[in-house]
């Protein structure tokens, strides 16, 4: 027998080893099993019925269509909305982040809510009155509402829910800090007395992080060592909303099941699934393939333009309260001079920046507050956008190095680069510095880390000028990132809070707004729209203006 050596091998050996390579390649795909797509949960495929879809606008007119079991199959009665991060514990009285609001707002409801235009509308309260002194709020509660555990929602439950939020003292608890007394004269009347007038109190009832109603029975049943059921409510829900959490797999999948007894009518989807997919490219692939139905956050202009022309996918826009803001450090060498800050405010070309970065999905800011809280033009903040004037103002600092920070979890990195170019054109040496969530939120208390400029996109907890200013602009406020103080504006804001008369209060707010603007500490760049990429077969899309990236899920449906 001829001996085989490395040098003297037969052609058969070559073929066999090539075949071995093919086998290895096959091994890699061995787990494929079947050729089905990964749709065991959703069952959806990429056969969306829209082709060459175009942008639409959220209707704001939920139809209230009742669920029709005959109209859907198992593959179409699951709505899949992606989460980019794993949410923190979902107890609505301590939860204070963005992603998990999709879950908390599907499960819990407040006394009021915002519609798509930003108007306060009844929710679990059908009506309310405010006393002449602005201190007493009387809510008429919606009858025949039950929590998902079957217990009735009434004034006692409302009072217990308010009290729990106050007692847990989490981030959102400030919204009820001004309550002096609560009363429940009858099961459908809930009376709240404030220690002093608060112009945002009613609006807090519609905030995405505001007081929501939690079943007192569930809290009592699941309380452990006096924890007010916080451990249980971290991954369970006990609200009145259209969906309730039924399965939690942390960092993997959150499953909510329709509440058949929902007071607004049973939802059109049997389940709401929220997979955690941090990688946006994967989210997009899954949307295109029909494995998820909605992407609500993190979409750049390029993504939106591309998705708007993708078969089976539509881009939907809504009004939002998201304001792109360039904060200016008044202790910076360059921007210590108010005249320089004002020049930056007036001559940074926000119209061009907005158009280049956001395209049609935002408008250049023209008012101090960007969400129609004041009549347009009452507190104007319009830019001239003259680069030569900007260069002239910055001429004394030519060659000076500054740092431009931006919030990395948003998509504004490229906008920071555009601003960097403009400022370099004006003679500054600009370095860009990304800030993570934990580092940016430490800036208000750590002046040593503050950049000269900081770019971010922010929205208030609720749609009032008072709330926005007290979060971002008021002296030493929680998110006054670069430590600017405008005492005159603060005083006007405080004065406004105590005024009952609507017109007089508005006048004081305008005074505050103009004082904040004149400080030059904040350059308003753009007012963003809410943008969603959705499967084209989703219908009756509705939003709440104060929750960017959120779709209302109670009446959302899939076209047959």
């Amino acid at each position: 027998m001829k001996r085989s050596t490395p040098i003297h091998r037969s052609a058969a050996h070559h073929r066999r080893h090539v075949l071995a390579w093919i086998a290895i390649t096959a091994l890699v795909t061995a787990g494929c099993g079947s050729s089905d797509n990964d749709t065991a949960s959703s069952g959806t495929t990429s056969s969306g019925n829209a082709s060459g879809t175009t942008s639409g606008t959220a209707s704001g007119t939920a139809s209230g269509t009742a669920s029709d079991p005959a109209s859907g199959t198992a593959s179409t009665d699951v709505l899949r909305m992606v989460l980019s991060t794993d949410p923190a514990p979902l107890d609505p009285d301590t939860y204070y982040e963005s992603e998990g609001v999709r879950i908390t707002r599907a499960a819990y409801e407040g006394l009021a809510r915002y519609d798509a235009d930003g108007a306060l509308v009844p929710n679990l309260a059908v009506d309310w009155t405010i006393s002449d002194d602005g201190l007493t709020y009387t809510f008429s509660l919606r009858p025949d509402v039950r929590f998902a555990d079957g217990t009735p929602f009434d004034s006692a439950a409302a009072k217990a829910s308010f009290q729990r939020l106050i007692d847990l003292a989490g981030g959102p608890s400030y919204m009820l800090a001004g309550i002096a007394k609560m009363a429940t004269p009858d099961p459908l009347t809930f009376v709240v007395s404030l220690a002093s007038p608060d112009p945002s109190f009613l609006a807090y009832q519609a905030s995405a992080w505001g007081p929501t109603m939690i079943s007192p029975t569930a809290v009592e049943e699941h309380q452990v060592k006096g924890d007010r059921a916080t451990a249980w409510l971290a991954n369970h829900t006990a609200g009145t909303g259209p969906f309730q959490l039924t399965d939690v797999r942390p960092s993997d999948l959150y499953t909510m099941t329709a509440n058949p007894d929902y007071w607004g009518g049973p939802p059109n989807f049997a389940r709401l699934e929220l997979p955690v997919v941090p990688d946006f490219a994967t989210q997009r692939l899954q949307l295109e393939q029909g494995d998820i139905d909605v992407i609500g956050l993190g979409l750049s202009l390029q993504d939106l333009e591309s998705l708007a022309t993708t078969d089976g996918v539509s881009v939907v826009t809504s009004k939002s309260a998201q304001r792109t803001l360039l904060s200016v450090n008044p202790n910076s060498t360059v921007f210590a001079d108010q005249a320089v800050r004002t020049a930056l405010q007036q001559h940074l070309d926000r119209a061009r920046l907005t158009k280049d970065f956001y395209g049609q999905y935002a408008t250049a800011a023209t008012d101090v507050f960007g969400f129609d809280v004041l009549p347009h033009g009452a507190a104007p903040d319009e830019a001239i956008g003259d680069p030569d004037a900007l260069a002239a103002a910055l001429a004394p600092y030519s060659g000076q190095s500054i740092t431009l920070g931006y919030y990395v979890e948003l998509n504004e990195g490229r906008l920071a680069e555009l601003i960097q170019l403009d400022l370099q054109e004006a003679g500054l040496d600009v370095t860009i510095q990304p800030f993570q969530a934990s580092t940016i939120f430490a800036l208000p208390t750590d002046p040593t880390q503050r950049p000269d400029l900081l770019l971010g996109a922010w929205e208030p907890d609720t749609l009032t000028a008072d709330n926005f200013a007290r979060i971002y602009w008021y002296t030493d406020s929680p998110l006054n990132f670069l430590g600017c103080s405008v005492p005159d504006a603060d005083a006007a804001l405080d004065r406004a809070a105590g005024i009952i008369d609507e017109k007089a209060r508005q006048q004081a707010v305008i005074e505050a707004a103009i004082a904040y603007r004149n400080s030059g500490c904040w350059v308003s760049i753009a007012d963003q729209q809410g943008t969603f990429a959705v499967r084209s077969d989703l219908q009756d899309i509705d939003t709440e203006r104060n929750q960017t990236g959120m779709l209302r899920v109670d009446h959302l449906r899939r076209s047959s």
Partner: protein, 331 residues
Amino acid sequence: MTTGLLRRLLALVLVLLGLSLTVFVLQEVSPIDPVRATVGASAPQSVVDAERARLGLDDPAVVRYLRYLGDIVRGDLQKSLRTHQPVRDDLARFLPATIELSLFGLALAAVLALAFGILGSRRGATSQITRFWMIAGAAAPVFLLAIAGKLLFYKQWGLLPAGGRGSVTNPPNGPTGLRTLDGLLNGRLDVTTDALRHLVLPGFCVALSPAVAVGRVLRGGLVDFSNSDAARTARSLGLTERAITLRHGLRNAAAPALAMGGLQVGLTVAGIIVVETLFAWPGVGFYLSQSLPDGDFPAIAGVTLLFGTVYVVANFLAETLQTLVDPRLSQ
């Protein structure tokens, strides 16, 4: 053997101590405010102050570090600032997914490394093809592999899922926490098949780099052996090349390959953070990547200590295996 074991146990303690100190110092010098991560960005200062006091963050750094070390000794890794759960419980929850992915990836890596090593040591077209794939594999960043895999196997061919750990509703919760195994143990073949499909792409991304590294070392050893006097003697005795390689060459080339394997296990653990994030794989690496932006020190430290332990233990096991394969190394 006993001395070696004690020496390595001491090394493990020192490594963990060093790791805990390093992570603690990094936390101290970083501008991250973990309290904000806990109570929310726009929470009023009074809430922040109360939470800071509750967490003991107002104490001096030395006190906090010693308290932390004391807690570790008692098996308490503190509470995660993000999940509000004990880190120990979080790790127990996420670890099975990481173990499953690691085992699958390392098993695949072993198969690929063996194939790379053996086929690459031959001459001719097979060797050329093998070496091409080894170079390509070594050069390809994990994220690129992930994207290419998703585009081809998910989008183009629809064969494999793009991410996640499973698509089956209500998978069994135990007893092992490994979906593939639990599916079999609970008679749910659909779960096992589904889990395997979800494992393939991330598993391949985990496997490729260590497979190439070990395969290259193995190939070098096999080529050296093939040119050795021993191999020539074997040939003169009439043994086939296959027999020479499989019976004698592999044994001689295995020791350095195993040493490289031990190193690669450690590197794989580090790489798995990226893979888990890219594939939304709910394991410890994903847990870490979610904790980093929030400055969740207890979680970050817990994972670091865990990975450090795995690294040291993996190297210890690799060295022990080397000794077993080649007893000369024990002297």
